[in-house]
């Protein structure tokens, strides 16, 4: 008995010690959190990089940005330079934290839910923007955009800022770039020339089929076509005849109307996947299409594939040629189209836990309006990483190339305002002018600006997501026979509750239309 007492008192002691430790830990966190707002916090001074130890109340922000390649070795050098300028201009510094895109989702989820120091972050509709906003992970921006962020609204355009709004409140600002997408067919130029393929004659899937047949019969060692996206994607990636309304569960088959319907039940969908299966059977499509993990331009680079279909934009052929290491030509199959996801696909947001949201917005504004800062983050330091070779054209600094340069992150489309930055040699010097025209000429969906909130139908949403995962890629890569699988797919979707999602989406869309005077 007494021994038991000893044991229990020991456990009590331990628990107490633990609680104390936990409390004091929390306390000190809170303190450092508060101090940075008012007087100068020690924590802030020590975390400040090169610029520490100067003015008292320099705000030090943390900015998370996805990295699509290895981190450039001169990253710190460029960051120091950005901070030097930023400190002069708005008395703030920023710790730019590159995160590999493969870890992005997980890392962001952790950072946003743990309350770790974070001010600015990249967001995207395909990475859960609406749920991040709905769960309060992102700070509401309407007031900030009317205040310190005014210059962003001027540069991005009211129309596109409105497209980010969820229930009237904006939680992110789109980067300035192509805000619409067309659907392009990309081919190897050498083989196009060899077989005298007339590019102007390619307009529809029928025309593409003729090209595929030529390649199949004349080039037995090469696969005629592969899906445009890497990793479990079908041939319809980027196909823009309908507005998918974000997730494809309930779409606008006619983007001029506001009628939400089930894409997978439509005649158009059946026709397309039947055609894809036909191509697959004829051996036109990469046999591994549904499980392939390699990007299409890399398959072309490896000499395995002749062509692919995907989203395009001005300068797309040049961009893909660079990636594939050989000349590619593109044909537009469907013109530019703007839906909400084209705008909300790349955005910058302020984290809910940011200690000084106004300053964070000021920092963000620089990335949308200050050429000096934008050029730095995109291309590095003039004379060290690049030299000017024309009015608006730059090239690698002397003695450097793509493999030896210390700074070439390839993210000018991601960092804020691409219109203000230089164009790299090999690119079209008028690419940004053309992009403006492209954006303006894009056909806008009637629901541009509408974002669906899946919260009221969460249960159905998870079930439908699983069903779509199960069938979509197989059907759209032509691997599965739609004759047999499509009815099964539709039936399972119904069982999973897609009709309830469509109903809810229609309700939200009608409400949105009424609020925004869309008729």
């Amino acid at each position: 008995m007494n021994r038991k007492k000893w044991l229990s008192s020991l456990v009590m002691l331990l628990t107490l010690a633990l609680m104390l430790a936990a409390c004091s830990g929390g306390g000190s966190n809170g303190q450092s959190g508060n101090s940075s707002g008012g007087q100068s916090g020690n924590a802030d001074q020590t975390t400040g990089s090169s610029s520490s130890g100067e003015k008292e109340d320099t705000y030090h922000a943390v900015m998370a940005i996805p990295m699509f390649q290895a981190e450039p070795k001169d990253f710190q050098m460029v960051e120091d330079e950005i901070n030097r300028i930023m400190k002069e201009k708005i008395n703030a510094t920023v710790d730019i934290m590159p995160i590999p895109i493969g870890n992005w989702m997980q890392q962001m989820n952790l950072m946003l839910s743990s309350g770790e120091k974070l001010d600015l972050l990249f967001t995207s509709s395909s990475m859960g923007y609406s749920s991040q906003a709905a769960t309060g992970k992102l700070a509401p921006l309407n007031d900030l955009l009317a205040g310190p962020g005014k210059v962003i609204v001027e540069n991005v355009g009211e129309k596109y800022i409105n497209a980010t709004k969820i229930a009237g409140e904006s939680y992110g600002v789109p980067t300035i770039r192509d805000l619409a997408a067309n659907y392009e067919y990309v081919m190897r130029k050498d083989l196009v020339d060899k077989h005298n393929i007339d590019l102007t004659s390619i307009r529809t899937f029928d025309d593409i089929e003729r090209v595929l047949e030529i390649i199949k019969t004349n080039e037995p060692d090469i696969v005629p076509i592969a899906p445009g996206g890497a990793g479990n994607s079908g041939m319809l990636v980027g196909y823009n005849a309908w507005d998918s309304l974000g997730d494809g569960f309930g779409v606008l088959m006619d983007p001029d109307s506001l009628v939400v319907s089930n894409l997978y039940e439509s005649e158009e969908y059946r026709e397309i996947v039947t055609r894809m299966h036909d191509w697959y059977k004829k051996g036109y499509i990469l046999r591994d299409a549904a499980t392939n993990q390699i990007a299409a331009n890399q398959l072309v680079k490896a000499g395995k594939v002749f062509s692919y279909l995907g989203n395009g934009k001005p300068g797309f052929a040049e961009q893909e040629s660079r990636a594939a290491g050989m000349e590619l030509v593109t044909v537009e199959i469907r013109g530019p189209f703007a839906a909400t996801t084209n705008v909300t696909g790349l955005m910058w947001s302020i984290a809910q836990q940011s200690e000084n949201k106004e300053k964070a917005m000021e920092i963000l504004s620089l990335f949308y309006s200050d050429k000096e800062i934008i050029d730095l983050i995109n291309w590095g330091i003039e004379g060290v990483h690049y030299v000017k070779i024309g009015d608006n054209m730059i090239d690698f600094a002397e003695g450097l190339d793509a493999s030896t340069t210390g700074y070439m992150p390839n993210w000018d489309w991601l960092t804020g305002n691409a219109y203000l930055t230089y164009v790299f040699k090999g690119g079209d010097p008028e690419v940004w002018e053309k992009t403006k025209v492209f954006n303006e000429s894009a056909k806008a969906s009637k629901a541009l600006g509408f974002t669906f909130n899946a919260d009221p139908v969460k249960t159905e949403y998870t079930a439908v997501t699983n069903v779509v995962n199960q069938y979509k890629v197989g059907l759209e890569s032509g691997t599965l026979d739609p004759e047999k699988t499509l009815p099964e797919f539709i039936q399972k979707l119904k069982a999973a509750g897609i009709d309830k999602i469509i109903e809810e989406k229609q309700r939200q869309l009608d409400e949105w239309a009424q609020q925004n005077n869309v008729k």
């Binding site: 021994r3 079930a463 699983n466 691997t479």
Partner: protein, 327 residues
Amino acid sequence: MERMIEMALQTQPDSGQLAVAATSKRFVRFRKYLPLTLMVIPGLLYLMINNYLPMAGLVIAFKEINFAKGILASDWVGWKNFEYLFATSDAYIITRNTILYNAAWIVLGTMLAIFLAIMLNEVKQKLFARFYQSVIVLPHLISIVIVAYLVYAALSLETGFINKSILPLFGMDDIMFYFEPKYWPFILTAVHLWKGLGFSVVVYFAAIIGIDEEYYEAARLDGATKWQQIRGITLPLISPVIIMLTLLAVGRIFYSDFGLFYQVPMNSGPLYETTNVIDTYVYRGLLGLGDIGMSAAAGFYQSIVGFILVLTANFIVRKIDRDNALF
């Protein structure tokens, strides 16, 4: 635990002794066990921080989390977060897959591991025994993503070893492994055993080494065959370890090795019938929603079922053989 307390009770001094004597005796005993007690502290701390403190987070499963409000101030939603686990037509498939795979693997894995451990024990040359042991453990250390690509290298349609080198030898057609669910129970079982076996072999091997050599000597003198020695000595003596490992595995029967079920089939949709398990279902379903309340609900559900299963299994073991029960 219970037995320890009983023993403690028995060693208690009889009534009538002086309280002072009792205290001093207790003090002596405390002094005697102090080092041992202190040695337990790091382990206890670890358990507290890693296993007990986070239990408070279970409230998340019943809340509609809003980070602006904080966890405690978020709204209660009752059982709503659990609904999606049962409201789907796939509920049957994912539950069946999870349980059947795990049950089959507990049986197969245990038998194979014991078999290999006994074989290892029979290898008398130390160097070879070490070598085999390392070879068996090696797959346990390989990342599942790499394993997935090893499997892909064997099964892929365009470049796979089986489709390009083995099947043509027999004049057979290609097999589209990533589209045919019927092959996957075997593929997954093979991969799981290949990868996971090493660890339990080492545990059983250690248990077998611990058996006193004298038992075998005596048996040999009496003319027992190898088989009789295994049945009569090895198996009974390692049965506590077998029972313990099995009970632990039963407790995790509602969990599945996410990497194995998600990475190895390359997330291929047509295979879901035989590869979709609770963990992958939850992952795929919530990837878009990012709802931590619903994922917490899934975890809660799994651990409750696991807890009940362990209690039941332990109860049954107790009925049969009291000494071998875990608690």
